[in-house]
Amino acid sequence: MGYIISDDTKELLKDVKEFCDNEIKEQVKEYDIKGEWPKPIYDMATEMQLTMMDVPEEYGGLGLSHIDQAAIVEEIAKADAGVAVTINGNGLALKPVLIAGNDEQKKKCCDIILNGGWGAFALTEPDAGCDAGNGKTTAVKEGDYYILNGRKCFITNAQVADFFVVTAMTNKQFGTKGMSAFLVYKGTPGLSVGNHENKMGIRTSITSDVILEDVKVPVENRLGEEGTGFYTAMKTLDLARMWCAVIGVGLCQRCVDEAAVYAQQRVQFGKPIWKHQAVQFKLADMEIRTEASRALVAAAIRLADAGLAYTNEASAAKCFTGDSAVQNAVDAIQIFGGYGYSREYPVEKLLRDAKIFQIFEGTNEIQRMVIGRSVISNH
């Protein structure tokens, strides 16, 4: 375990593990098949305050260190990546508010989450994924209000969210400098949510379109100055990539855990398959990828905590962890053989869950572009 955590946090982790083992691990199998948001699990997670780990202590939060939080999120991700993505969605929505919001906005959003509510970050659009600056959603100022129109897609937690952070173009001419971010609360007229996306994996998380039709947003709900929305979104993504990598590490570890147990049970040619070197090497590579991923995440967290630049490290952690999660899942299935391909066994789900980690929060190609450009600029 690459995270160094206190004895008290280890005690807390035991509770989280017990919760995951008793309430998540088996239960999600059914929800995964149905593609249903497991509300009873999220109600219990809220009760345990697992959905509010991103609220800062000065706004009534829990006061966990980021490494402690990472260890907890990883534990949840080991049980089910979709549950971890949902819980992390609250952090994702809160981050732009904490980055750009004023005290009143921060307090209001933190209170929503502390009271068991949910937030959603609505940046992506049908024609603006990796190219987030190409958003078509507009915000036109009319007196004390902005009128928002447009369509967002793949928005985590949209169907359950009490507040949305929505990016929209306030001045198209300025390109990315013409983008602004707004707080939009559930129930605002003109705001609606599309159907739940029928996804390949992380099916216990809910993902939908958000439709904005003449949504009247008071000027005081703008996050930061006009034109700072793209900067806020990019800062949010730096953080989001780090936390996305934390979840990916949990997936990597689950693959190792499942494969290691199975390799000791499964006997072929008169001995447990782990005694065959080909399987040992696979297990070793899976373990190496997992520990390396965790170490990259820990390095990014340490830099962020110290107030130093960590954009490249967050990208590296996200990219390497996403690739590792997919490769570990492929290897776990290979170790399980034919059973690994069966839905009766847990590892095929891990591959379906892992794939998105090479895609969301900026595809791994985008991460490589970020890192590649920085390599050149440093030489």
């Binding site: 005690e11 807390l12 509770d15 829990l62």
Partner: protein, 262 residues
């Protein structure tokens, strides 16, 4: 309503225990220590009772120095105070001596608590030694009413109604207070702590007392443990695997008839 729950710290019962060949005793050193499951049911029952009817719950344990960690965890899930009693003399003895010492500790707990207890709860048994005697013996030592295997407690004026689980159903008993009950598994699980409560509880300082501090004297011991043996390993079964499935079934049937199973 003041409730005292006695707790024993035991090795995690989810882990298989083997004998240490050097000492002949269960090798539990490397196994995580946790509160006995039945004691956690007792605490949950007590916490629910006081949440519904008022009052507070104190937990106390007799055990080695590290037991304070277990007690801190219980403060996160419903206990408002905890006391630890630790002394080399507590490490030997039988169920009679444990009960005798616990009876004396009740007085110290009451003095520290500043109020007498109306109800004392123990798990119906511990998951390590599983003797199931201590609660009943404690009631005898204190000369108090006793009900075993309780799964529900309700107020009844100045008395209590305890629902005892039996093999066929349940029996309701009414007892005066104070009383001693042992608790079986109720129809619910102990709560999970929330993070804030857990972090606060981990910072708690658990008052710890020696035998002399607590005024615990000699405790009689009647039973001596002579040793432990591991349960015999299951014999390897008979494997029947013919080339054809029909032949396999026929051969299995033949063996079952020959051994008079059928």
């Amino acid at each position: 309503m003041e409730i005292l729950v006695f707790v024993k710290q035991v090795p995690d019962d989810g882990v298989e225990v083997r004998l240490d060949p050097a000492t002949g005793k269960p090798a539990t050193g490397s196994i995580d220590k946790v509160a006995n499951a039945f004691d956690t049911y007792a605490l949950e029952l007590a916490a629910r009772y006081t949440e519904a009817n008022g009052g507070k719950v104190t937990v106390a344990a007799m055990g080695p120095a590290g037991t304070d960690s277990t007690l801190k965890n219980l403060i996160a899930v419903g206990a408002s105070k905890a006391y630890l009693f630790t002394d080399p003399s507590f490490e030997t003895g039988d169920e009679a001596s444990v009960a005798c010492r616990l009876a004396q500790l009740v007085k110290k707990c009451e003095a520290e608590n500043g109020a007498p207890f109306d109800l004392i709860l123990c798990g119906k048994e511990s998951t390590d030694e599983i003797s199931g005697q201590v609660g009943a013996r404690l009631a005898e030592e204190l000369d108090l009413p006793f009900v075993s295997s309780v799964i529900e407690v309700a107020p009844a004026g100045d008395k209590l109604v305890a629902k005892q689980e039996t093999e066929d159903g349940y029996i309701k008993f009414e007892t005066a207070m104070p009383a001693v009950y042992t608790i079986a598994k109720p129809g619910y699980d102990p709560r999970y702590p929330n993070i804030k409560a857990k972090l606060a509880a981990r910072k708690a300082v658990i008052p710890t007392f020696s035998a002399a501090d607590a005024g615990v004297g000699e405790a009689p011991c009647f039973v001596e443990c002579l040793g432990y043996t591991e349960p015999p390993k299951r014999q390897a079964g008979l494997k029947v695997q013919e080339k054809e499935v029909a032949d396999t079934v026929a051969k299995a049937m033949e063996i079952l008839i020959q051994d008079k199973v059928l």
